[in-house]
């Protein structure tokens, strides 16, 4: 494979993987704090992407302006969704709570996809930004991709520093590690859970806009993204940003090369097959992080 094509495929994989990692961050934070595996998580990305592309089509605004228009409503939606539908389930026994969260988030997935498909059409859309090309010798890269990469890096760092240094960020980590201990320190658990759910949703909203700039989105593609995010947190560990980023990049690059060297139709299979293989090969490793 010539070097310039190799670099382009690698960059595609890195971008894809970076976006997967953003999706995984949200899923992982929400699971760590609220013990909810949100099956509709990736669907929020799909819908954010579709809405963003519609806004772009209508207005032609810079996607940077579109991001807050998406993130704020998605954040609010996440908060209300948790407070109204998921929080009341905590009063139930464990198995009933699991059944409740699974049914509610899966029902939400089906409903949101269909509503969006009904309102915006089921076809694939994207945000066709015009982009200058960055030329470095033989290698030609669209500037948009470089900006997206920068955006992913910036978001990851921002999240990292927020969790590390902000009071609420620390509280989120504390609740993840020991909810009772955190309550003794004065952390309001239910509020922390709802806000984390909202933040995870907001994050996926940003990812949706970025995704739609490089790849087509449609209302029904969300679940396959949730599957990828799940594989990533199984590999990278719950609440572990660095682990999720590494796992995300690996998955993205693997998919990009599979699509290029073999066939795009097999790329989506990698995450599920990888997940099953990991579960067979590393049961001990899994058991150890499942306890944490």
């Amino acid at each position: 494979m010539p070097l310039d094509i190799f670099i382009q495929v690698l960059l595609n994989g890195v971008l894809l993987g970076g976006i997967y990692a953003l999706v995984a961050f949200g899923l992982s934070l929400v699971y760590g704090v609220a013990h909810i595996l949100n099956i509709a998580h990736g669907t929020l990305l799909a819908i954010s992407g579709v809405v963003a592309s519609l806004i772009f089509l209508k207005t032609g605004w810079n996607p940077v302006l579109i991001i807050p228009m998406i993130v704020i409503p998605v954040f609010a939606f996440g908060y209300l969704f948790h407070a109204g539908l998921l929080r009341p389930l905590a009063r139930r026994g464990k198995h009933d709570e699991t059944i409740g969260t699974v049914l509610i988030t899966t029902g939400a997935l089906i409903m949101m996809s269909d509503l969006t498909g009904f309102a915006a059409g089921t076809q694939q859309r994207n945000i066709p930004v015009r982009s200058e090309m960055l030329e470095m010798g033989d290698i030609i890269l669209p500037m948009a991709q470089i900006w997206i990469l920068a955006g992913i890096v910036a978001l990851t760092l921002a999240l990292h520093f927020y969790l590390k240094y902000a009071w609420f960020g620390k509280a989120v980590r504390a609740v993840t590690q020991d909810a009772f201990g955190a309550a003794l320190c004065g952390v309001n658990g239910p509020r922390a859970r709802a806000l984390t759910f909202a933040a995870g949703s907001g994050l996926v909203g940003v990812a949706g806009v970025l995704y739609a700039i490089i790849y087509p989105v449609d209302p029904y593609m969300g679940f396959s993204l949730t599957v990828r995010a799940f594989t990533i947190i199984v590999v990278g560990g719950i609440g572990n940003l660095a682990g999720a980023m590494i796992a995300g990049l690996m998955l993205g690059v693997a998919e990009a090369f599979t699509a290029f060297l073999w066939s795009p139709k097999w790329a989506p299979a990698i995450s599920v097959i990888l997940l099953l293989i990991i579960l067979v090969v590393f049961p001990r490793g899994l058991a150890s992080w499942r306890k944490a």
Binding site: W167, K170, A171, R173, A174, Q177, D178, F180, G181, A182, A183, L184, C185, G186, V187, N188, A292
Partner: protein
């Protein structure tokens, strides 16, 4: 002056009643022990005092104000802090972060630097290990973090639930000395402890809880001389 007053407290865990009538009266500056067999209701009593378990019946008053129905945070901000059984640290966070979490509420947050200073003076080893993840510390050091974290909220009443479990015997002495220092600084201490000898070495007065009720109360001297006391605790009667 009475700092904490508990009258006929009753608490249930689901369908099972754990406390059937616990009464305590603790003055400011006292060091008081809660003794009793496993499952007698000591931990539940502490949990109910800080508001983690709701009281079914009875009254809890702190510093002259009724707190029976108030939530964990308002009791915490009024000056009650619990060092729970099993320490409940944030094991992947650093020692310093664990301590900082103790000052999460607004008022103690303003005094963060000063409180940290005080905790590090009390437990100099924690200053040395401040960047280390709490889970990697020894049992005794973890206990120090747990006590330090509770102190960060600048409490007037410190409740400790079996703080010497999993602590090496030599370190127990250090922790005991630190507790004595805390008491000397004017903080009221309630200690739940299984080892009577150790408990009576430290406290001035103790209550005995049996099957969810306070059945006996006395000063250190009274309890040491009470022939039935040791037997009662060990179930030798």
């Amino acid at each position: 002056m009475t700092l904490l007053r508990v009258d006929d407290l009753e608490v249930s865990h689901g369908p099972l009643q754990a406390l059937w009538g616990v009464s305590l009266s603790i003055s400011a500056g006292e060091k008081v022990g809660l003794l009793g067999a496993n499952g007698a209701g000591k931990s539940t009593t502490l949990g109910a005092i800080v508001g983690h378990y709701p009281a079914q019946a009875g009254r809890i008053a702190f510093d002259g104000r009724d707190e029976t129905r108030s939530d964990v945070n308002s009791r915490l901000s009024r000056g009650m802090a619990l060092v729970p059984e099993g320490r409940r640290l944030f094991v992947d966070m650093s020692v310093r972060e664990n301590l900082e979490m103790g000052a999460y509420l607004a008022a103690p947050r303003r005094a963060l630097a000063q409180s940290l200073e005080q905790v590090f003076t009390l437990f100099p080893i924690l200053k040395e290990k401040e960047r280390q993840a709490a889970g990697t510390l020894s049992g005794g050091q973890q206990q120090m973090v747990a006590i330090g974290r509770a102190l960060m909220s600048r409490p007037r009443l410190l409740l400790l639930d079996e703080p010497f479990i999993g602590v090496a015997p030599l370190i127990i002495r250090d922790v005991m000395q630190a507790l004595a220092q805390i008491a000397a600084d004017g903080i009221t201490i309630v200690l739940v402890e299984q080892n009577i000898h150790r408990a009576l070495e430290f406290v001035e007065r103790a209550y005995v809880i049996e099957n969810g009720r306070t059945v006996l109360e006395g000063s250190r001297g009274q309890l040491l001389n009470d022939a039935s006391f040791g037997a009662k605790l060990l179930g030798l009667d």
